[in-house]
């Protein structure tokens, strides 16, 4: 347990490029699916139990030391949208850059050398957590929390939503976030013995479809 490092990695101000992404919230706002705090909460709950769970399990597995290339392939298989795969690798490269300078060391340098085009962000998140002296639970929590924290922050900007309401949404999702992180770690441990197919493959088709539409449209504020 290295609690201060966990706070640093989970902090939304950690400079890894996340601020330019809405986690699908901008597309959902445009489509009228997020209009207020209640619909933001529903959106985030759905994202947490699908994309969030998958990301958390990938991060936990990477933190446990699973092979990054295999995890990256598993992430690809769980991400139908090419635009989202692209985004995930871009964010992975950016996180790796931030991680390498924040917690310098050979393991992350090797990752940058072997995978110059980048790895899915959750895989890098797990590796960075490991480099920071954190464990699989920490990595899973970071990924799960990030899966809802990003859309909530973006919605404050997109809808001028009351920031206290947005924070309240995240607080109400805390018990779900705990459960998702727990499930993710159990699955990651299974994957160590049974292979990456043991990782969850929950998906949210609407997130994938709207990510494609979002990537193709002009006049957007967030990259994804």
């Amino acid at each position: 347990m290295n609690r201060a490092a966990l706070l640093l990695l989970a902090d939304g101000r950690f400079p890894a490029g996340g601020h330019a992404h809405s986690g699908g919230a901008e597309a959902a706002v445009r489509a009228g699916r997020i209009t207020d705090a209640a619909s933001l909460e529903a959106f985030c709950r759905g994202r947490l139990h699908t994309a969030g769970l998958v990301a958390a399990s990938l991060a936990a597995a990477a933190a446990l030391g699973a092979e990054p290339g295999e995890l990256d392939a598993a992430a690809d298989a769980r991400t139908p949208s090419p635009a989202l795969r692209d985004t995930a690798r871009r964010l992975g490269r950016q996180l790796l850059r931030a991680g390498r300078t924040t917690w310098p060391g050979g393991q992350l340098d090797a990752l940058a050398t072997v995978f110059p085009r980048g790895l899915h962000q959750p895989v890098v998140l797990g590796a960075v957590a490991r480099a920071a002296g954190l464990g699989p639970e920490d990595a899973a929590y970071c990924a799960a929390y990030e899966s809802v924290g990003g859309p909530a922050t973006a919605t404050v900007r997109l809808l001028s939503l009351d920031p206290f309401d947005a924070t309240g949404v995240l607080a109400r999702l805390a018990p779900d976030t705990d459960r998702v992180a727990g499930r993710a770690v159990r699955a990651a441990r299974e994957a160590l013995t049974d292979g990456v197919d043991a990782l969850p493959a929950a998906s949210a088709p609407l997130l994938e479809i709207s990510a494609e539409a979002h990537a193709a449209r002009g006049g957007r504020l967030f990259a994804s």
């Binding site: 601020h19 330019a20 390498r100 300078t101 310098p104 940058a112 072997v114 900007r157 504020l221 967030f222």
Partner: protein, 225 residues
């Protein structure tokens, strides 16, 4: 893991002054300032002026995706592969100061794609007077204001006006139309900036961007020395 070596960026953060092969990387200049002051027009003019002698590229940071990049493409100031648009999630100042990762990636990709460059211009999405570039992203920054934005801006100061390596007061041709006092703007700027240089320019005038281009050449010569 097979460890044959790929290009892996410029070391940890990307601020390092040398490429992995030991040569000096491109000089990175940031252009900031309020919306509409003439940043994109200055970038376009600099590209036209400098492209015969330098190999250069541009990164834009639009508030709404690709407006500036598309303007530069339409004007054909550089080939398309030399222009990259970074998206900023409604916070253009964050992307150039607090979290520079997307911009660092963009400048590195430009050099990877185009081979070694001499100069990369990074335009910030227009923001307020407090926006400045991180030293981790740029080697020097130009702050562009214009006479139509109010001739009291140099007096009011703010980090851009006071600390930028070059302050450009643009659109001097409009001064008579908006009742701006150029002498006062110049004097106020001098008072705010002590020894730091100020250029008053009109891109509509004969001299155009020449003085700023001369400043860029000087910076580049110092960088490459």
């Amino acid at each position: 893991m097979h460890l044959h070596r790929h290009h892996d960026g410029l070391g940890g953060s990307g601020a390092a002054a040398h490429r992995p092969d030991g040569t000096r990387r491109a000089l990175r200049l940031g252009l900031g300032g309020p919306v509409g002051s003439g940043k994109t027009a200055t970038v376009a003019a600099l590209c036209r002026q400098l492209r015969p002698e330098l190999s250069l590229a541009v990164v834009t940071n639009d508030i709404y995706t690709r407006e500036d990049a598309e303007f530069l493409l339409r004007e054909a100031v550089l080939p398309p592969e030399r222009i990259t648009a970074v998206e900023t999630g409604a916070c253009p100042h964050t992307a150039i100061r607090d979290d520079i990762s997307a911009n660092l990636e963009a400048v590195e990709e430009l050099e990877e794609r185009s081979g070694p460059l001499d100069l990369i211009l990074i335009e910030s999405g227009g923001d307020n007077l407090t926006a400045t570039f991180s030293r981790g992203l740029v080697d020097a920054q130009i702050f562009v204001i214009d006479v139509a934005g109010g001739d009291d801006i140099p007096r009011k100061g703010g980090p851009g006006v006071t600390t930028a390596d070059l302050l450009v007061v643009n659109k001097t041709d409009l001064a008579p139309h908006v009742g701006a006092d150029l002498a006062r703007m110049a004097a106020d700027a001098k008072a705010q900036r002590a020894e730091l240089p100020v250029v008053l320019q009109s891109l509509r005038g004969e001299a155009g961007v020449a003085e700023v281009a001369a400043w860029v050449r000087e910076r580049l010569a110092a960088w490459q020395a």
